[in-house]
Symmetry: C2
């Protein structure tokens, strides 16, 4: 799945900033990939980039009209169709992570046919895929794993990629979920791949590379989440990481959406290394990323310091304090 950059980020009539999280992620992590934002009347989100018309965006070189906003239920509301049709007419592709397939809307399908523009559904994997081989690939890989879903695996990976590049290390963030794919402009939504091919898709996501190159792969779910552990394991085996970073949200007590306690950091380290050795016997844990967003500054620092003492590993909050210590350890 390749989404051509740069983007015109469409925010529709987003009811709050959280609804525009995808758009915000793109602005945060790929600011050069954004020519501007398009907001409909009533939109309360603002990415802090230029408000542009579709015509201006096309003139500025935008290649893709990216739906950077979620709607309840993932439905495409009728009053967004006009902008999408206009964007197709201006020569742009459309990229969407919504549940409603773009091509299922007759006006959009018609406009795409006329313009030749692509309708990119980042929820839908683009095959063909094959089963995993387990063959060791060249180059290095880091995988972010978690004690639960939604604990910061995507942003930890993006922060590590950014820090590696800052240090002059060749690195690529590899997106395994739809928001990450829109940020990076490419990737594979692993959880939407048929399970027989999930590990094989993970192998395709981080192909052979130069010996010193790092792929920084966005993890999915948790080996301890009863709904998604199979996805997490397929991604672990297919990625065959040299290094893992364990992501954790220190105030969470139960797994998201299920009646199960959150996994402990030590269990996640032990189990990930035990299972990861199947495809990379040299896998090691290079640190812990704490998502301390819900804590005050003092409490966050205490949590980080305590975790560092408990595990004798580098501990960071990627969004608050960066990932230098993690990257120091992975490059040892």
């Amino acid at each position: 799945m390749d989404v051509q950059q740069p983007y015109l980020v469409f925010l529709g009539d987003a009811r709050d900033a959280l609804a525009a999280k995808t758009g915000q992620g793109i602005v945060d992590w790929r600011p050069k990939a954004v020519v501007g934002q398009l907001r409909l009347p009533g939109c309360v989100a603002n990415l802090g980039v230029a408000d542009v018309t579709i015509e201006q965006a096309a003139e500025a070189g935008a290649r893709t009209f990216l739906i950077g906003v979620v709607n309840p239920g993932g439905v495409l509301p009728d009053h967004w169709q006009g902008a999408i049709v206009e964007a197709l007419g201006a020569g742009l592709d459309i990229a969407s992570g919504l549940h409603t397939p773009l091509a299922s809307v007759p006006a959009i399908a018609r406009a795409a046919k006329q313009s030749g523009g692509q309708l990119l559904e980042v929820r839908r994997p683009v095959g063909p895929f094959r089963t995993a081989t387990g063959r060791k690939r060249t180059g290095k890989r880091l995988l972010t794993v978690g004690t639960d879903c939604s604990v910061g695996k995507k942003y930890a990976a993006l922060a590590i990629e950014r820090e590696l590049i800052r240090r002059g290390v060749a690195a690529d963030y590899r997106a395994s979920g739809q928001t990450g794919i829109l940020i990076a402009g490419s990737g594979i939504p692993i959880d939407a791949v048929v399970s027989d091919f999930a590990a094989g898709a993970a192998e395709m996501l981080s192909p052979d590379n130069d010996p010193d190159h790092w792929d920084v792969v966005e993890g999915q779910g948790s080996l301890f989440h009863p709904s998604f552990a199979g996805v997490s394991l397929a991604l672990l085996h297919g990625t065959q990481p040299d290094a893992i970073v364990v992501c954790h949200e220190p105030t969470r007590t139960t797994m998201r959406n299920v009646d199960a306690p959150i996994a402990s950091i030590s269990d996640v380290i032990d189990q990930t290394l035990a299972l990861g050795r199947l495809t990379n016997p040299a896998v090691r844990c290079v640190g812990i990323a704490l998502n301390t967003a819900t804590l005050g500054s003092e409490a966050a620092k205490r949590a980080i310091e305590q975790t560092r003492r408990d595990f004798d590993l580098p501990v960071c909050d990627p969004m608050r304090y960066g990932v230098e210590a993690l990257v120091d350890e992975m490059l040892v």
Copy 2:
């Protein structure tokens, strides 16, 4: 996926007995579900049941024309179409595990439309599925797991179901792969389910049941197979087994189709119990099923006796010597 029984088993022009393995499995495990076999000129396989015409099969009450033979590449050869069309005309459904979708063959699609007969593709899961909840269900479950693919997990499960029923214990074999689905007449091909829903599909496969009822679930792959471990883990978590049986082929040294050593029985026991505890803390290993088909009688008995001593667990070859010791232990 429900396939109506009884079956007319179609063997086409099977080149050898192995090509008719699916048909043989049905005759072995569900003899009452077979009204007869239909063989084309040149067929060298023989299931040892009556040769019948389609007309005779329909009169005898056959509901489904079941393709019980595999062809190289899973392709449906042109010269099988006539029999399929005739079977539809006689009021039968068609069930197939071939790669070629039945409905992609115009003559078959037309005949099905005319007759109202169903075209059942057991490779294709019939949703909708949901993500797993991890909620503990009522009733008991056994899952067969393996040191590799194709070590006898399906037949071990079928043998355990048969022995339970012989003892008057309420039990159902639950098929997780296409051959098992054709044998049982129902099931879910877990490896063909989108990975996000694989554990949820496994939950649907063995729903709430009476407290003393056993679901005997056919395992898939191996937690140590780099291509399929994610599927195996999703099935383990979704099944939430009370008991596992580890299946092993004692002469195999490498994993099927990949360059990896076969897993050890002890690693499979330890890892399956460690991971299985997430959704059933009481999971235990009730024995080992050895597939000794490649060994002579004396060597087979020695391998079973040695394994029994090594693990202090019941050890059986289900096909050769039955599964009484395993079932004794699961009912303790």
